[in-house]
């Protein structure tokens, strides 16, 4: 039994995609506590971004919409749409988002170098390892960002209500709000995948001995 295939070296087979999805999902669920912390970084980044953008959308629509006349006195700084201050706020929130998410993913992959080395010892192909981590970070990124987008949306709604009262519903920018929630979620997912891609790829390329030796 032990001597089958003597003297010949085969090609390692590709794994079905469903197998990768199953393993990555299971890994996320069992590592739930750690996943939550990583995801929290994504959630906060996206929540902040969506909050800023949607608050802006709502106030702009009030100023530009039918309710604008009653609010003229309020609208001084909003009359030109997105003010310079708000533009900077959005750019800043994007930067916070990108840096935060990339950092979270970097850490979560780096602390698992040993695991990557072990998988390669057992016969995992380099790109299997990469796919596994991209899937994991994709799931994580999307879930975290969706929660973040919803939090950001609710927060901006509450703030707008406090500022403008029920008038915000007179000309509510429903479509663009929905688009921002979806866009924020996708952005979070992309950033998470992007942040995980580099360290996962680097770890997968390393000889297993080196990957297992690496101290975080």
């Amino acid at each position: 039994m032990a001597n089958q295939n003597r003297g010949t070296i085969g090609q390692q087979i590709e794994l079905p995609f469903s197998e990768s999805v199953r393993i990555s999902y299971q890994s996320l669920m069992l590592r739930f506590g750690r996943s939550i912390i990583t995801t929290a970084g994504i959630t906060l980044g996206i929540a902040f971004l969506v909050f800023v953008v949607i608050s802006n959308e709502i106030s702009t629509s009030i100023v530009g919409g039918s309710a604008s006349e009653q609010l003229m006195d309020l609208g001084e700084e909003q009359e030109t749409g997105i003010s310079t201050k708000d533009k900077w706020l959005i750019i800043m929130s994007l930067i916070v988002c990108v840096v935060g998410i990339t950092n979270s993913m970097l850490m979560s992959v780096t602390e698992r170098f040993r695991e990557i080395g072990t998988m390669k010892c057992l016969g995992a192909l380099d790109h299997f390892v990469v796919i596994l981590f991209l899937l994991e970070s994709g799931f994580q990124g999307f879930a975290g960002a969706l929660v973040g987008a919803l939090i950001g949306f609710v927060a901006s709604l509450l703030m707008s209500l406090a500022n403008f009262g029920l008038d915000i519903f007179m000309d509510f920018p429903l479509l663009s709000v929905l688009l921002w929630i979806l866009g924020g979620s996708v952005l979070g997912m992309l950033l998470a995948v992007f942040g995980a891609a580099f360290p996962a790829w680097r770890a997968a390329k390393l000889p297993p001995a080196e990957a297992m030796r690496t101290e975080v």
Partner: protein, 242 residues
Amino acid sequence: MAEVIVKTDQVVKEYRMGNNVVKALNGVNLEIYQGEYLSLMGPSGSGKSTLFNMIGALDRPTKGSVFIDGQNTSGLTTSQIAWLRCHKIGYIFQSYNLLHVMTALENVTLPMIFAGLSVKERNKKGEELLELVGLDDRIYHLPDELSGGQRQRVAVARALANDPNIVLADEPTANLDMIIGREIITLIKRLNQEKNVTVISATHDLKMLDVSDRIVDIRDGVVERIRNRDEIELEVGEVTGH
């Protein structure tokens, strides 16, 4: 003379430490035969772990070649190396290296996933292997729920997942106490005899001398001497107090 399963030819491994180049291995020539139990011994820093990594295709030599089953590993593609690690070699590590999110059974069957076995086949085989190492009542436990000795048993079962020719054990008893360590050694020796698997073990555990067919002493990156079992039997009696 039995068939040569692993051969190293003038293997040199250098590591870069800042501006210095450290030679961990300095021209190692070694032939290992199918079915033998070989121990690599030497103090830490002697290069035995590096040699272990070379033999296991876990790292590439700076110079020289490693032949596994007649194939020069430096000429293989990454896919062929992965196949080699999956089918020909089983690994046992000092710190077990089990995936802690997977149950004992899932850990044992992971290499079988990479070998393309169906769920049914691999679960059956995984259960058989865990029974073989005496853990049939622990198959759904996570590594964190197992003792050190039990974890190492899972690792032994995992090493045998795809019926390898070679089992590489890197200090398999270093994290275990005397009695449990001896149990693991006995287990590995039993599998060596029953399955005719070649066992190559890096160690400085003197208990290992008992079961080894040959002992290779590594010092300063070269093979210092090779002893056969009959040459060492007397020394062992003194060392372990039997």
